[in-house]
Symmetry: C2
């Protein structure tokens, strides 16, 4: 192992050998060679298969050693029992990083798998080589065209991910893309036999492209290094962490997934307290939190102003806020007097906080922006949440155009408001209207304003950002 | 007041006076008269407006007293200061139930509003009349065509709702309709000046059409009566309750919404413990819980078997289960041996629980049903959750037909399984695929099998049903 290897080679290899490329072109189109071709990998690709001479138009070789040119990176997708032999070939060839896609090691819980993992460890101890995996999907780097899924966006962004689940990333990345998030690099690192989460966090801390980090970890081999890496990084770049296997049952599931030691709940509690990392509980929540770290301006306190339609909806939102550690204080007399001027007197509208502002017949009226500004300017308020539900009005004629206009009003207002603002566009029940509402969310997100589909998701994300900024200010 | 009045008159009036019908036909089309006409109300409608002779083709009258025929029910939609006078007219006319839609009473927090509410109370004390509201949307009864929103389903079902939020129902009912839920009666009762939640729960307990009840309450005037009504009803018909205003901030929001006394968190905790009612925290959660009470068979214990794709996804689902009070025990050796026969050996698939079963190239393979059956038959398992995510496969060719076939396999399996089962079809990021996935959910729901869009929602609902059945068995 060369611990000081520049990880850039893993993200930006000039050449890749795919060991175990299928000789069936139709199958390999969905395999590693096909994926790299389709996604536009910029370097050279060498399919390795002793039974084929050409794969997807590329010359195939019986082994990496048979390739005449130098190779930076290998993707190994063969039966686990063949991995040690291939690794020895890779070392002989001078390959710098090997991504072992194959599963069938310690995570199986079987003697044979454990023995194979030990053998791999002893092989790489001797050679100048670094290992990603085994049992993982490897690397997605839109800039260099390296990917494990062709559905991922070709555009590059500022979010880096280090994840011990690859399948989870197959869902998370496209979902995050649809929520306006673009990635610098995403790493699925599996059993973490060599390169670990800590090293990747250290890399992201220095990486100019990466400004926000999300980690999904099940177990950590080098706890102190990981702790220090996260603590240092989180001071300038927010680190969101989902720790899988925190519960008793979850820790059992971890051992059969990546053979990691899950660690105790108490230890992890201290970890989060001391590093200030943002803890999330599900992959869905992770995406919502990434939206907030990237798009929500610094929150100076926990007092939220809610602008929503419907008294009961406001009551429930208030309870949800308070349960999440936010406060929903009454607005000042002065603000209320101003709000009273733009809300209908007899309609049962509340102006205390939550605030109801006349939406006009078809969405967001001219009063809405004024109302939001009044709430944001109130000295009792640190952050504003505006909730709209266009589907309630759709039967009365509102359509894509009106919803889009509402989104524009919210964007324009959010950008010039004195306090940070989050928008919630709840989703209706008719697929056409849902399409319009998702488009509105996308527009808002792409304009750099955090947008959510539920009040609960928005409140969770806001509450965790409030805590994060308290930590940052305490340093 | 006639406390012994048969509430059936409120749900099935033969004639309705709309006091405050607009003389502008275009406006009134969206008003009470127009709504009743559009929704197909089967009785007579009398628009009341001193300035019009005909409204939407119906003869209008200057007051209810001027109507020559008897009237069962009045909807009052006028400025609050005129309400006392109209109420006196209604009593003189012999109207049995008056729904006061108008706001502007105690909930305003103003002296004038409080005085008006007191006046209304003193008027109805003398007369033979019952009041629904003020400050509420009234009644939705698909059987009789009475509604406050024309987007609600015309089909009748078995769920009854008593709600102190009307705006919340505008979202909840169509949302629940899309989730396969149909209603017997929905009541928005606002400030609860006369007919209260307790009385409606008592009504539902006896109502043959209603088998499941959801209450949204902010405050309860007659606590002991409500407690008894819920406790008795819940023994045979599950009662789900969302108590709005449980937090300090929420209780403030309640007073400006329906002028209710929110009550302390401790009192409500005891209430839920002793009645066994199912507590939910948001209106979205309420819908998910209604799906479960209606469609999930009795759960005999808290041990769940999870069948999902992706080790990390399984780990997170396990943690979520354990946090919700469910257990994810390892399957027996015998079950695992059987599962091993149908799962690929080297693919890193777990068969411990959570279980990964080969889905086949395009969704649910023939092994999937076998796998679900093995998990359900395991003596360590009480309930099964199957999670599919078709959008992960859509780029490889899966389409509406394949997703529909997967849904059918899950339906057929669920219906013949030895244990209750919940299906999760997660939603993708592309609107076309989301449409297919929502259609699959709808198909599953309409076949009587509980289906959810997120693992978290499914787990919450299952966990609360486990608790409910423990309560039922303890009686």
């Amino acid at each position: 192992m060369v611990q000081d290897l520049d990880l850039n080679i893993a993200f930006d290899p000039q050449s890749i050998a795919v060991v175990g490329a299928s000789s069936d072109d139709a199958a390999e189109k969905k395999g590693w060679v096909g994926r790299l071709q389709e996604f536009g990998f910029k370097g050279k690709i060498y399919p390795i298969n002793p039974k084929a001479s050409v794969i997807l138009g590329l010359k195939a070789y019986p082994s990496v050693k048979a390739v005449p040119d130098p190779i930076d990176y290998a993707i190994v997708s063969i039966r686990s029992s063949f991995v040690p032999g291939v690794l020895r070939d890779c070392i002989a060839k001078g390959i710098k990083v090997v991504h072992i896609f194959s599963a069938g090691f310690a995570e199986t819980g079987m003697d044979e798998g454990r023995r194979l993992q030990e053998e791999v460890i002893s092989i790489i101890k001797e050679g100048k080589i670094r290992i990603l995996g085994p049992n993982c999907m490897g690397i997605y780097n839109p800039k260099t065209g390296l990917t494990f899924n062709t559905r991922f966006s070709r555009e590059s962004g500022n979010v880096g991910i280090v994840s011990q689940t690859g399948a989870g990333m197959m869902e998370l990345v496209p979902h995050a893309n649809a929520r306006g998030i673009r990635f610098s690099k995403v790493i699925s690192y599996g059993n973490a036999l060599d390169i670990s989460a800590a090293e990747f966090v250290e890399y992201f801390a220095k990486d100019a492209e990466t400004k926000y980090i999300f980690c999904y970890v099940e177990g950590v081999n080098d706890g102190i290094r990981f702790f220090k890496a996260v603590r240092d990084c989180n001071k300038t770049k927010p680190v969101i962490i989902l720790k899988g296997g925190l519960t008793e049952g979850g820790s059992g599931a971890v051992s059969s997934h990546t053979a990691s030691l899950a660690g105790s709940e108490l230890v992890w509690k201290a970890f989060f307290n001391q590093t200030g990392a943002i803890q999330v509980d599900t992959l869905t929540e992770a995406v919502e939190q990434i939206v907030a770290v990237e798009k929500l301006r610094e929150i100076k306190g926990r007092r939220i102003g809610i602008v929503a339609r419907g008294g009961g909806v406001g009551v429930v939102a208030t309870d949800t806020c308070e349960r999440a550690g936010l406060k929903v204080p009454a607005l000042t007399k002065e603000t209320r007097a101003e709000l009273a001027k733009i809300t209908p007197a007899d309609a049962g509208s509340s102006i205390r906080n939550p605030v109801e502002i006349g939406l006009g017949r078809f969405g967001v009226s001219e009063y809405y922006a004024t109302g939001l500004r009044l709430v944001a300017d109130d000295p009792n308020i640190d952050v504003v949440m505006a909730v709209i539900n266009p589907h309630v009005y759709t039967q009365e004629g509102i359509g894509a155009k009106e919803i889009d206009q509402s989104a524009q009003v919210l964007i324009d207002t959010a950008k010039t408001l004195s306090k940070p603002m989050v928008v919630v566009v709840t989703l209706g029940d008719d697929i056409d209207v849902i399409g319009m509402e998702l488009a509105a969310q996308e527009k808002i997100l792409n304009a750099g304003v955090p947008a959510y589909a539920t009040v609960e998701a928005a409140i969770q994300a806001i509450s965790k950002m409030a805590k994060y900024w308290e930590f940052r200010r305490s340093l």
